[in-house]
Amino acid sequence: MSTVTVYLQGLSVLGPGMPDWSAAQPCLLGQQAHVAAAVVLPPAQALPATERRRVGAAVKLSMAVGLAAVADAAADAAQLPNIFSSTGGDCENCHSLLDVLASDERLISPTRFHNSVHNAPAGYWGIATGCTAASTSLCAYDATFAAGLLECATQALSGAQSCLLVSFDTAYPEPLYAQRPIPYPMGVGMVLSPQASAASKARLQLALTQEPATTMQDVGLEQLRLSIPSARSLPLLQLLASGQPGRVVIDYLDDCRLAIEVAA
């Protein structure tokens, strides 16, 4: 079976009851009760003021998670090829366009239209960081995290340089919320390198498998895992929080999951 080996250089998380990685760790390890508190999204300070005013939750979330992962890796955001993976991109913006298109006037805003592309958060990331490297925006429905992780790892190997993964999901308002209920926004960021360095936090060996996914023992965390695509990463985050070697299986697609072997 083919495996893909990469090294974790930086990690970030922003989700319900997980305002950052250091606050998330004791919850993931069961040392502290996890309370799924509302997520506070910081303004996208890295953007010029004119752009900052135009962006919603998806850009704020993805930028916060991306910047935190880059800072954790002590990397330069401008140099990192990046992968933005999300089930719906900017869902509020999409709803707003659909609402206007269903009205008599159909006077849609040009800004809303160019923000409607799935890669809008990645586009704003480039504007904010000045990164001109390759940027790929993915959708894989519930497989936001595993699809992004595979893309990021294969890109890092292929280009022989570190790459940034930003896995993030937000929710539509009603009426689409009823069909796609995502209870909280959540994002996970990782910087992956093809080579080990003194700063590497862990070695990750990825392989496709048909085994069932690892679940979370904590009922609340398991509920999150199942209801937010990016939270499918929780078993991996839990293992990383422990600092121990081990192996988890992450949900990916029907009949295809991602096994991840973690070593120091």
Partner: protein, 397 residues
């Protein structure tokens, strides 16, 4: 980079379904853009519409995926023996070793546009038959194709606006190089919808006439729809005459959400990287299939980039005058046009363009030429400053 072989390929657009219809249209320099009322759009608009989508019936087991985008996905799959080629690859490699990486910009959002018009007056709820996951979600078309072939390998949709289905060649190439898969279905599917027709109109980027790429009088795009697929495998068993993808260049403008960098710096970086990965010089490229959307700023930026890298001699044209701008499908469709150019020694003369912009003194072809080609470059650039250039090469006899 490790080159990848295009074991099979097909496309469907306003020019027709399958390779023969497209070859004939290229030879005759026939375009498929017409001015009409479409769906509930309240003005006449020039569009590149695929004929017959209303009559396509999805396979019974896949009925829940029914929407315009997946109908086009299935119609296009069924051309040129592509289904049989994929089935043979699945038999060779196994269902878990074949990936599906497709590009789409708006997917089946038309379904949600229509559903929003039918919201319950009291509750605001969508009509009960609406299927967000299988129609509107960006992944739906890759999910549909994966189910169509009963595959169990990796899959995703790349959605980077108008570079989407060029970038999937990169995703597949990296997965093949990593040994995670042995074959991949790549391509793009994008269909007409209100979002893009009203959206590009709101940006004043839609021409009142069929689009005129690189023309001095160009004044905007014509929105089109289409689908293209290629079956990719490693190139180690390539035979003379086979077509390989030998270079993939990807870059970001980091400049503006809907305007390209004025000097085309991102475009140039993508082209340079594609050449470098292919181990080629600019002079080795015999034809460039331009992104060539026909908006004033896009063509100016791309023209500047092409001139700075290739000079004024390399033959080039945009096939968006033939098909309209098929957005998330454009990269895949133009990849297949590039493959046809290589295979047939056919350099497509542009459609719609009358007088090439004097400010863009590229060797823009106004007449179709027939001459042998060894290497072709295809450009795809999208909103958000997402750039991708692909190099395709013919294996020598």
């Amino acid at each position: 980079m490790q080159a990848i072989r295009l074991s099979a390929y097909t496309l469907t657009s306003a020019l027709g379904s399958g390779l023969d219809a497209h070859l004939a249209a290229l030879r005759q320099q026939r375009g498929g853009i017409v001015k009409k009322r479409w769906e509930t759009v309240d003005f006449d608009v020039c569009i590149g519409e695929v004929a017959g989508l209303d009559d396509v019936q999805l396979r019974p087991a896949l009925q829940h995926y029914d929407c315009r985008n997946n109908r086009l996905a299935q119609l296009a799959l069924e051309q040129d023996g592509f289904v049989a080629s994929v089935q043979a690859a699945v038999a060779r490699h196994g269902a878990g070793r074949v990936g599906v990486f497709l590009g789409s910009s708006t997917s089946g959002i038309l379904s949600s546009e229509q559903a929003y018009r039918q919201r319950d007056a009291q509750t605001g709820a969508l009509p009960p038959g609406h299927r967000y996951r299988e129609t509107h979600n960006a992944y739906s078309v890759a999910d549909f194709v994966r189910q169509f072939f009963a595959l169990s390998g990796p899959a995703c949709v790349v959605s980077t606006a108008c570079s989407s289905s060029a970038k999937v060649f990169g995703t597949a190439q990296r997965m093949l190089a990593a040994g995670l898969i042995d074959a991949a279905i790549v391509g793009g599917v994008d269909t007409l919808c209100l979002t893009t027709i009203y959206g590009f109109s709101s940006l004043q980027l839609v021409s009142p006439k069929p689009c005129r790429p690189f023309d001095g009088e160009r004044d905007g795009i014509s929105v089109g729809e289409g689908a293209a697929y290629a079956l990719l495998e490693r190139a180690d068993l390539a035979q003379p005459g086979d077509i390989l993808c030998t270079g993939i260049g990807e870059s970001s403008d980091a400049y503006h959400m809907s305007s390209p960098h004025p000097q085309g710096l991102g475009a140039r970086a993508a082209m340079e990287q594609a050449l470098r990965m292919a181990g080629l010089q600019a002079a080795d490229i015999g034809y460039i299939n331009l992104h060539g959307t026909a908006t004033p700023s896009n063509d100016a930026a791309e023209g500047a980039a092409v001139l700075s890298l290739f000079g004024e001699q390399t033959p080039c044209s945009s096939t968006k005058g033939h098909t309209g701008h098929t957005l998330g499908a454009a990269g895949g469709i133009e990849a297949v046009f590039s493959v046809l150019a290589l295979r047939e020694g056919l350099l497509p003369g542009g459609v719609g363009t009358q007088q090439v912009d004097a400010q863009l003194p590229c060797n823009y072809l106004l007449q179709t030429l027939e001459q042998p080609l060894q290497h072709v470059l295809s450009n795809s650039f999208g909103f958000g400053g997402s750039n991708c250039s692909l190099v395709f090469s013919r294996v020598d006899a």
